[in-house]
């Protein structure tokens, strides 16, 4: 009986009073299985659609009262007032979210966290691995709105290249690799050799999200080349909005909250690859 979800428009009330919307219920408008146990879920939320920045995330909540904790997912695309996330089914929570159907509702809180810094006009090299890919799709989508910046997607998948369809809509160049072929650093090296990471005179900036070992390797790769790198981290979360200090990552400035200090940290903050 903890259903926190009001049936009235709590988002409008919060905004009218000058506050950020609390957890609220939204309608699922689309569900697609991209590959085995990887789902794309779309819901209608004008507030999140108009405010979310790349690498920001949303907390989704299951309808199962055994699982009260938030499930954080990076925003992967926004179309009109519809927001999409792409997620892997790894436990009971994502199993339940994977069973949602259009017309169902789900509770959401967001957008949360600090996204990528995309202010600079640059050639953003989006280095993603596995389920780190979704936020980078959204980065590509946002970058596509800015003619002065470019987006080069460099994605690594375990097997099926499930997100190419989406990223290819937005990225200026899109490359991918899977475990059978090698890892993203192999791909980066190959692209570098073929001069495929250059975009006219634009300065390269790495945006990365993926498994920890991959991101550490990417950080080292970028450090060697003195390319700035922004890395989006993952951590088990209690609240997702900065109130519980359950989601820390070790940085050169001490233990910082991933949910509000991040999820995006610079290579320098993490002290990686130096």
């Amino acid at each position: 009986m903890t259903t926190f979800t009001p049936t009235y428009d709590v988002v409008a009330e919060a905004q009218a009073a000058g506050y950020f919307p609390p957890r609220h219920s939204v309608e699922i408008t689309g569900v697609r299985e991209l590959t085995d146990r990887v789902m794309r879920l779309t819901f209608r939320d004008p507030f999140i659609a108009s405010h979310a920045k790349p690498a920001q995330f949303v907390n989704l909540f299951t309808h199962d009262d055994f699982m009260l904790m938030p499930r954080p997912f990076g925003v992967s695309e926004v179309e009109g007032d519809e927001v999409s996330v792409i997620f892997a089914v790894i436990g009971h929570g994502t199993e339940q979210l994977a069973r949602l159907e259009p017309g169902d509702t789900v509770d959401v809180l967001g957008p949360l966290g600090r996204g990528f810094n995309l202010k600079e006009d640059a050639n953003y090299i989006l280095v993603g691995g596995g389920l780190g890919v979704p936020p980078l799709i959204y980065a590509a989508q946002k970058l596509a709105e800015n003619d002065a910046s470019f987006a080069t997607a460099v994605f690594g998948y375990r097997n099926d290249h499930f997100a190419e369809e989406y990223v290819s809509r937005y990225a200026d160049w899109s490359w991918s690799i899977d475990d059978a072929e090698g890892n993203v650093v192999d791909l980066l090296n190959k692209l570098e050799q073929g001069d495929d990471l250059k975009a006219y005179d634009r300065k390269p900036v790495i945006l990365s999200c993926g498994p920890l070992p991959m991101m550490k390797a990417v950080a080292a790769w970028s450090a060697e080349r003195d390319i700035p790198a922004q890395l989006s981290m993952e951590q088990r979360m209690g609240c997702g909005y900065g109130t519980c200090v359950l989601c820390t990552v070790d940085t050169v400035d001490g233990r910082l909250k991933v949910c509000s200090g991040g999820p995006v940290f610079t290579r320098e903050q993490l002290g990686w690859g130096e």
Partner: protein, 319 residues
Amino acid sequence: MIDSNQNDNHINIYEPHEWKHSTKVAGVEWKNPVGTASGTFQYAAVRWFYDVSQLGAVSTKGCSPVPWEGNPSPRTAEGPASNLNAVGLQNPGVDHYLEDDLPKLKKAGALVVANVAGHCDDDYMQVVAKLADSDADMLEINVSCPNVTHGGMSVGTDPVALSSLMDKLRPMTDKPIIVKLTPNVTDITVPARAAVEHGADALSMINTVLGMRLNIRTGEPIIANKTGGVSGPAVLPIGIAAVYRTRTVLPDIPIIGIGGIDSGEKALEYLYAGANAVEVGAAALFDPVAPLRIARELDDLLDSRPELAAKLAAGNTWR
């Protein structure tokens, strides 16, 4: 279709509200009986969601003499209807608290319960010394932290150690001292009595319950610290029993009930068990505005319970 669920009764928590039912804890008036629980409320995070002055009180994150970095991550796991945490009391220290959090909260109009952490008696003394002259309205001593003065056990599990700690802290301040008790003891009324006999003005209970989860893919603990503290709805009956049993033994001491509160109804249940007020913890992790929503639900529930409401307002309890 019957539509009697409380969540469908539209309470607009953003609308200005005249609180109808106050309470008094150790002489301090709270505008309503609902506060936040320590460790689940950070002003910098919550201020975007609601006006914190609307709460009965806010209990802030446990404060140590110097900054503490806490435990490594992961720090949390999920239990059925619960959350497990092992923050390890990460906090920026009392000086930062006095310079930053506290003035901001006071400026925002909040009634502040400053929660105090320590790994030895001296830690507690240093923090209390600095808070004694501060703007904090009440102090809440968290005696669930592992304590080196007393061989690594928490002071809350050892009535002798708790008495001796209270003997040191009590003379240091005129501010009301709340002692926050751990449920991880054989009989919570024993440390409760020790705290009161050695100067506590009020008690709060419960802190988290010792628990653990393992990952069945790896067979290893999920939390880096291995064990953690269980909070959230699952612990409700444990908290209610703690308050009720303590109230039976200590008829007059103000008690703040904590544990598993996620609705006005559950807050009310604590008041019937003998609490003077409540604090809301984990529910705020799942929805930032939960404490304020609960306060509003309780305010309405008390309308039809004038006898209880009158007792609370006068600083008395149902039992």
